[in-house]
Amino acid sequence: MSSGKHGGRVTGLVFSPWNLLLLIPFIVLLTPLYNRESPELFGMPFFYWFQFAVIILGVLSTITVYRMTRKAPVSRVVAGDTEDVDKLDEGRAE
């Protein structure tokens, strides 16, 4: 597989280093890290609130990847494209 433009289109694998952030949430698979009682938060053992905290960590990583790879030349930009993307309700588009 070759990377780069081919006839004006992107071919091959397009990889951004930002994508590596997607690995961060996998920390939640390492159970020995958090399988304990203390410290408690609001009466909740560490085991539970730690995993809730990883949700926030996960959302931050995916949002960062989304934001940082948005401008990547995945496809040819057509005039008006960027404006469309910022519209919140895309329901009525097309």
């Binding site: 597989m1 070759s2 081919h6 006839g7 289109r9 992107v10 071919t11 091959g12 694998l13 397009v14 994508n19 997607l22 690995l23 961060i24 949430p25 996998f26 939640v28 698979l29 390492l30 159970t31 020995p32 399988n35 304990r36 009682e37 408690e40 609001f42 009466g43 909740m44 053992p45 085991f47 539970y48 995993q51 809730f52 990883v54 949700i55 996960g58 959302v59 990583s61 995916t62 949002i63 990847v65 989304y66 790879t69 948005r70 995945v74 496809s75 040819r76 930009v77 057509v78 494209d81 469309d84 993307v85 919140l88 309700d89 895309e90 329901g91 009525r92 588009a93 097309e94």
Partner: protein, 544 residues
């Protein structure tokens, strides 16, 4: 009979029924006589609709009743649902983009369509399609289990045909509007479902702990219950034996999630890559909901909730824990809203799953083997009929056999859908694995997964086979060789089967390549994996 609850439940049910029928006119297409329209909603859903649709699709009624029931019964191990949904989105973030692009470029409707195009093998596509249908069927049946748990709490707890009548009525209505409106129906209803679910969970999670004395009291009550129970593996924390099971089950379930045909349907219905990226970032918001909901299992322990005895089987129905908690702790009007939230939560995924199964049947069996010259109109017609068959199959299934079998089959479903990972997900990146090696890997993964599941007993329910998905490493026997003899550490069966599948596929690829057997023709091009919504010369949608 709980009249207040029943009236509120019925009113909300009527509301979504109307929505289901109106959906056919929503963002109307010229006609629905094409799978792009009926089966994928015109491939034009934006960020919000996709968020509700995919969320409504993945977080099902069964999730809502079963996950808290697991925590109620076994404690910490049931919480695996949280890490599972935390890693699922980062895991599929990049592959779903490629899947969407290639499907958009080539007009694929199902994951099996992609496999067909990638490997030029209708046999491999058939295998993927049938695995998908078989894994989805019990999943639909489980939605009925969730719906029945709610109906039972409202007083419909009869045995025999009459006991199942409310369920049957609900499903006939669902079948009719799905037939008419296709994917637009669950997409529209998903809004109502999610608003109700969020409302109920937020109220439950703020109101109930304060009423019962805070999380401290709740966790103390749970610890006390598990300390007193004879089962060795339960508790509010994991133990040395089930940590590996916890992590591999979370990882295996996350890998399986977007291999299920109904998840792919949700993905392909979206308008473009940006919509998907945004959704992969925003969907974890549901994980928060799921985690809080799971903790209601402990809340139920503190509240002293007991499950209802199912009059049809004579055994306690663990899935009634959450409905019963709501029944006992909420005023009846709010319990009615909560029941409607769970009930409607069953309809959305059931509709999407039946559409996904119907698409698979139509594209990869009917069109491939039965009527090769079927027009797009014929395909749409066939899929509509197939969706009816699938739904009534699921109802018959629940009515005629013990619901416990549906739960067992769902367990098996997760293991078998994982076996399509090499042919569907890895093929998105490379064709290095040979098509015949993929088939060999699938056969080994399926067979071994089945054998391992068969060997797992469940002492708690007094069953010798299919007692769960946690395999003691001690039982791992590779042609007489036991690498972990004597170990009591547990692992998820699906994960073991997938590794076997991958190993066989890799080794067989080396061998088959040496023999210079054809690897089929790839009808996809490199650039297909990057197309996006605004590209010029993009394949038109729903052309006849």
């Amino acid at each position: 009979m709980q009249w207040t609850e029943l009236i509120i439940f019925s009113l909300l049910f009527i509301l979504v029924t109307v929505l289901g029928f109106v959906a056919a006119r929503w963002r109307r297409a010229e006609s629905l006589d094409h799978l792009d329209e009926w089966g994928l909603g015109g491939r034009k859903f934006g960020s919000w609709i996709t968020w509700f649709l995919v969320g409504g699709d993945l977080y099902t009624a069964y999730t809502f009743v079963a996950v808290p029931a697991l925590l109620f019964g076994a404690g910490a191990t049931g919480f695996f649902a949280l890490p599972y949904t935390i890693i699922a989105y980062p895991l599929v973030f990049l592959p779903v983009l490629r899947m969407w692009s290639v499907s958009r470029a080539r007009g694929y409707v199902t994951p099996a369509d992609f496999v067909r195009g990638r490997y030029g093998s209708s046999l491999l596509a058939l295998i993927v399609a049938i695995t998908g249908i078989v894994a989805t069927m019990p999943y639909i049946a489980l939605q009925l289990v969730g719906l029945e748990a709610v109906l039972r709490s409202m007083g419909f707890n009869g045995a025999g045909f009459l006991g199942h009548l409310p369920l049957l009525i609900a499903f006939v209505i669902l079948a009719l509007y799905t037939y008419q409106s296709g994917l637009r129906a669950p997409a529209l209803i998903a809004f109502v479902k999610d608003i109700l679910i969020y409302l109920v969970i937020l109220v439950a999670i703020i109101y109930l702990p304060s009423k019962l004395g805070g999380w401290d009291t709740i966790f103390t009550a749970a610890e006390k219950k598990f300390a007193e129970s004879p089962a060795p593996a339960d508790g509010t924390l994991l133990n040395a034996n089930n940590q590996l099971q916890y992590a591999t089950l979370a990882l295996g379930s996350a890998l399986a999630l977007f291999l299920y045909p109904h998840s792919i349907t949700g993905v392909l219905a979206s308008r473009g890559r940006d919509v998907l990226k945004r959704n992969m970032s925003a969907l974890p918001a549901y994980s928060l909901l799921l985690g809080l909901l799971a903790l209601l299992g402990f809340v139920a322990i503190a509240a002293g909730t007991t499950p209802i005895i199912n009059n049809a089987t004579g055994r306690p129905d663990g899935n009634t824990i959450i409905p019963e908690l709501f029944n006992g702790q909420f005023p009846s009007w709010f319990a009615g809203i909560a029941f409607a939230a769970i009930g409607i939560g069953a309809l959305v995924p059931a509709a999407i799953m039946s559409i996904a199964a119907a698409n698979l049947w139509t594209r990869n069996v009917y069109k491939e083997y039965i009527r090769k010259n079927a027009t797009p109109k014929d395909e749409a017609k066939q899929a509509k009929l197939a969706s009816l068959v699938v739904k009534f199959g699921a109802v018959l299934f629940i009515i005629s056999i013990d619901p416990q079998y549906a739960i067992d089959l769902q367990l098996i479903g997760g293991v078998i859908i994982l076996q399509t990972l090499p042919a569907v997900a890895i093929a998105l990146y490379t064709r290095w694995l040979h098509r015949w090696a993929l088939i060999a890997g699938w056969v080994v993964g399926m067979a071994w997964g089945m054998v391992l599941l068969y060997q797992i007993p469940n002492p708690a329910t007094n069953r010798a086979h299919f007692g769960g998905s946690a395999l003691a490493l001690d039982k791992l026997n590779i042609l007489g060789w036991q690498p972990f003899d004597g170990s009591t550490v547990q692992i998820y069966v699906g994960f073991v089967a997938l590794i076997a599948n991958l190993l066989v596929a890799v080794i067989a690829t080396f061998v088959i390549r040496k023999m210079k057997v054809s690897n089929g023709t790839d009808s996809t091009k490199d650039e297909d994996y990057h197309v996006d919504e605004h590209d010029e010369d993009l394949r038109p949608i729903a052309v006849h």
